[in-house]
């Protein structure tokens, strides 16, 4: 990150003046934390005792045999407390908030995963917590709303715009400019105004650090390829950082191909030709927008990848050809999910399953002595409503209908 928050041509901080000072403070606190080895130690300690880091690197023996190529390893972020890598970022920011002396946190959430993680962190740290969530997502992800509320957070359904993630972000910013003195905005991914992309990536780098060490221990040398799904880009940045600059390790980001790259119903920013450079939500990146700069509606089976922008750091790495981007369609995702459950007894989140799709396409082409790592950013059992729905499971539908009859009296 340069002094203006840029990574190459991307990033920056496009924020209302009212937030200027709070960003200055945040940048200072963040810089101090980064310089202070004790801070990272405290962070590691917290993640080791409250979540279960290091998360394992699991050898997927059955999938490996099935595809007959490279050894497939899965980095198990699904085993984090709250079920996804989101916890890493949130707990890190929690420590920072404590340092800054603020007493209230806010967050946006799409899938609900980041909202649950933030509500959890707030409960743990004793902060007040408000989570903004698009009304459409509130309806889709009621279980997550339930847990957030149970952990003491206030969930505010956002009724503007497309009523999804990007609108929740706007609304969170509106809260922040109003309550800037008391409040920290816990941004959920490696996007937004500087220093968020770098800071979130820093907290997530714990994934890559562990994976680097683990693959050397198990495999004896560097893997050939690393796969991660890319919504905002935080889990991808997290694992990629452990391997960036290592020769012969190829990094592959997988975006939401939705109904196909040519369908107009996807959320692929770097893969495909639908995104163009733009500035919104506080930063410059490749956005899915029309010619006049109005953001488009996106589509993905996974709420967590269904976003118009992408981490400026990843765009920079993409321009530098250090990360390759691919996409996975909704249909491919359901297939990869099915195979992984049946062969390994592991349930990737719909988001994570995107990374599995691409890995499965490429594993057979690699030698048996090579290794690849898939970053399993989260667990899928949180997505029962979406997954059972997507599989069109008749007993599930009947179950819901019966339950509703009980309630609808």
């Amino acid at each position: 990150m340069d002094t203006k928050g840029y990574f190459g041509n991307w990033g920056g901080a496009f924020i209302p003046e009212i937030l200027h000072e709070t960003f200055e403070q945040l940048k200072i606190s963040y810089a101090e934390a980064r310089k202070d080895p004790a801070f990272w130690q405290e962070y590691l300690q917290l993640m080791g005792s409250y979540s279960c880091r290091p998360t394992p690197l699991t050898y997927a023996e059955n999938l490996t045999k099935h595809f007959g190529g490279a050894k497939i390893f899965i980095k198990r972020e699904d085993l984090n407390h709250t079920g996804a890598h989101k916890a890493n970022n949130v707990m890190g920011q929690g420590l920072l908030v404590k340092k800054m002396g603020k007493k209230r946190v806010i967050a946006e959430t799409g899938a609900g995963q980041h909202g649950v993680a933030t509500a959890t962190m707030a409960a743990k740290f004793g902060f007040e917590c408000t989570v903004y969530m698009g009304e459409v997502d509130v309806q889709r992800q009621r279980p997550n709303v339930f847990w957030m509320e149970k952990m003491g957070a206030t969930v505010i359904p956002v009724k503007d715009g497309s009523r999804t993630l990007k609108d929740a972000i706007n609304e969170a910013f509106r809260d922040w400019v109003t309550n800037v003195d008391s409040t920290h905005y816990v941004f959920g991914t490696a996007c937004g105004p500087a220093p968020f992309p770098e800071m979130v990536s820093w907290f997530q780098s714990i994934i890559g650090q562990e994976a680097h060490k683990q693959i050397l221990e198990i495999h004896g040398r560097m893997p050939a390829k690393i796969y991660a799904c890319v919504g905002g880009g935080s889990n991808a940045m997290g694992i990629f950082q452990g391997f960036l600059g290592k020769d012969n390790v190829e990094l592959i980001g997988v975006e939401a191909g939705g109904k196909g790259l040519h369908s107009g119903q996807h959320a692929s920013r770097l893969c495909g030709n639908d995104a163009t450079p733009g500035i919104a939500q506080g930063y410059k990146t490749m956005f899915l927008q029309n010619d006049e700069g109005q953001m488009l509606e996106t589509h993905s089976v996974s709420a967590g990848l269904d976003y118009v922008g992408v981490s400026p750091i990843l765009v920079d790495l993409w321009e530098q050809k250090k990360v390759r981007f691919e996409s996975a369609t909704d249909a491919e995702v359901m297939e990869a999910l099915d195979l992984t459950m049946k062969m390994e007894g592991i349930i990737p989140a719909l988001e994570s399953a995107h990374a599995f799709v691409q890995a499965f396409k490429e594993a057979p082409k690699l030698g048996k002595d090579e290794a690849i790592i898939i970053n399993q950013s989260g667990r899928g059992d949180k997505d029962i409503f979406t997954i059972a729905h997507a599989f069109d499971d008749p007993s599930w539908k009947q179950f819901i209908i019966d339950r509703a009859k009980e309630y609808d009296k």
Binding site: K4, G12, A13, F14, I15, P16, E17, I18, L19, H20, E21, T22, D160, G161, K166, N170, F173, R174, V177, T178, N179, V180, D181, T276, P277, G278, I279, A280, Q281, G282, F287, Q289, D291, E292, G293, Q294, M295
Partner: protein, 254 residues
């Protein structure tokens, strides 16, 4: 220099100037036309016309909704530009564009300034673009002699105000409080201290906006600043009572 001079000159004649706000294409350009006419006839001194954006991060619910509905009807930047040109040609007060940076960026910065110049637009308010982030923009503003209006906030330090002042032109837009547009502000002691800080930081005229809703609000600013900005309140008025209500409302503010 143009805008700053116009404001200073007008200020010679009035104790306080009024700037109003409209969202282009909301509810329609036809209504915009009627509203602007009423505003000008009733003595408004300056009008900021918002080019709608799908992600108006700094705006409150009233203006947010107006942005969305305008876009839903298909409002384009080109139409906004043409409408701006039409107004500036018809009425002898300064017209400004307010929008977010992406609109300018996607239009092409230089092309945007050129077209604004042709349209006789005198200033631009871009709340998500600071001088650090907009080097080229601020250069072009000088080249094309269109004032880049900067915002002071209660959270801005003295140093920050001084630094912003070096890139500002036309006038300084002082946000009366934290938060987004649309809710009422109170002009208390803290506010006076803040205003004093603003004045110390710049020699440009000062406008105050965010939550100014009635004659009392305007009165409490008179003598203290150069211009009061009425934002969401007129949009609400048009929503509820139609464009005809705007004239009497404006007339009653001073």
């Amino acid at each position: 220099m143009l805008l700053e001079n116009t404001i200073r000159n007008k200020r010679q004649e009035k104790d306080i100037l009024l700037m109003t706000h409209i969202v282009l294409g909301y509810p329609s350009f036809a209504t915009n036309r009627k509203v602007v006419a009423q505003m000008v006839e009733n003595g408004v001194d300056c009008i900021e016309m918002q080019i709608p954006f799908s992600e108006p991060m700094a705006d409150g619910p009233v203006i947010l909704k107006a942005n969305q509905e305008s876009l839903a009807q298909g409002t384009s930047v080109k139409e906004c530009m043409a409408f701006g040109a039409e107004m500036a040609a018809e009425y002898d007060i300064p017209f400004l564009f307010m929008t977010y940076y992406n609109i300018v960026y996607k239009y092409g910065e230089e092309r945007f300034f050129k077209d604004c110049q042709k349209a006789n637009i005198q200033g631009l308010i871009i709340p998500d673009l600071s001088p650090e982030m907009g080097e080229n923009f601020f250069k072009l503003a000088t080249t094309y002699q269109i004032a880049p209006i900067l915002i002071y906030a209660p959270t801005s330090t003295n140093k920050r105000m001084a630094s912003l002042n070096r890139s500002a032109n036309g006038f300084i837009y002082c946000a009366a409080r934290r938060g987004v547009t649309g809710t009422k502000s109170s002009f208390d002691e803290d506010f006076d201290t803040y205003l004093a800080r603003c004045k110390a930081a710049t020699t440009l005229p000062l406008a105050v906006g965010f939550g100014i809703q009635d004659r009392a609000d305007v009165a409490s600013l008179t003598g203290k600043v150069d211009m009061a900005v009425i934002g969401s309140q007129t949009i609400r008025l048009v929503d509820e009572k139609g464009p005809e209500a705007v004239g009497p409302f404006i007339a009653g503010l001073r």
